[in-house]
Symmetry: C2
DNA sequence: CTTGAACCTCTAGCTGCTAGAGGATTTATA
DNA sequence: TATAAATCCTCTAGCAGCTAGAGGTTCAAG
């Protein structure tokens, strides 16, 4: 029987986060001690590890919900899990492409800054005038 | 005199977002029409463009606040603006490195999935067992 | 039996918007 | 000048995915 603190340490998840996962139904309600404290077993430890690992790979909580559901039904075809992973891969690739464009632009800004007064600062100038940008970077928060 | 809708179209910013920027003090309170509607001038248009462009380059609203402040004081040294941009560049590079590791792992997962039952799904297996990962990817939400 | 660490619930906060309700104003046309 | 459509207003609440803190209880060691 594991306390929430132990689970926290074993998975590198904050205690509050574990309770949050329970609240949104991602983790099942665990058993309780006589005094009302949460007590976990190994299955729940595995589940939390799965969740955390998926989060580390960038999957959304919704995607993880689906993946967990699939994982609970061993006889279903795995196309769906595959599709979710492919979607995630695509997203990662899109984000990388975007960051690459940003990096180019930022490098250029920083590189051109000669360190005088802000009046002549290339960084600020570029920010003021989009047309100075050589690369495309048109979506916010992608 | 520009209405908020015009500003919205010219900068590609949602009307609510413009009001939000005003609320958090990023945009100044504009003048008003007799009936109480917001009316903007070109200086404010420029300011909003600056904000938007900075957002597109990934700067946080706090960073933008600093950049705007620097931009308003042409005689200050521009080290600070430079530092902010360098910080941003560093962040972008870190995120890229992280995404690269994720991509590798996701590719491997997807590649190895042979399309059978979920019981044998490599995607789910890898998620279950971190030790199967070849690359490091230890921070969440970076 | 006492102490202190870990637990409990509950509420509110973070970033950066976005959406909708319910109503007022502006503008174009008839 | 009247009216209708488009735009504007304020206010509140919601999204993801946690995180922090208040104020109080339980547990395990000594």
């Amino acid at each position: 029987m594991l306390t929430i603190g132990t689970l926290s340490k074993k998975t590198g998840t904050k205690v509050q986060t574990i309770r949050y996962y329970e609240q949104i139904g991602l983790m099942p309600e665990p058993g309780r001690s006589e005094g009302g404290q949460r007590r976990y077993d190994n299955a729940q430890l595995d589940r939390l590890s799965f969740i955390r690992h998926s989060r580390q790979l960038g999957f959304s909580l919704d995607a993880i919900r689906e993946l967990l559901d699939l994982s609970d039904h061993p006889n279903r075809p795995c196309d769906e899990a595959d599709a979710i992973a492919r979607r995630q891969l695509k997203q990662v690739e899109q984000r990388m492409a975007r960051l690459k464009a940003l990096r180019t632009e930022l490098k250029r800004m920083v590189h051109e800054c000669s360190g005088g007064r802000t009046a002549d600062c290339r960084v600020l100038e570029v920010l003021r005038d989009h047309s100075e940008c050589l690369t495309e970077h048109d979506e916010i928060g992608a």
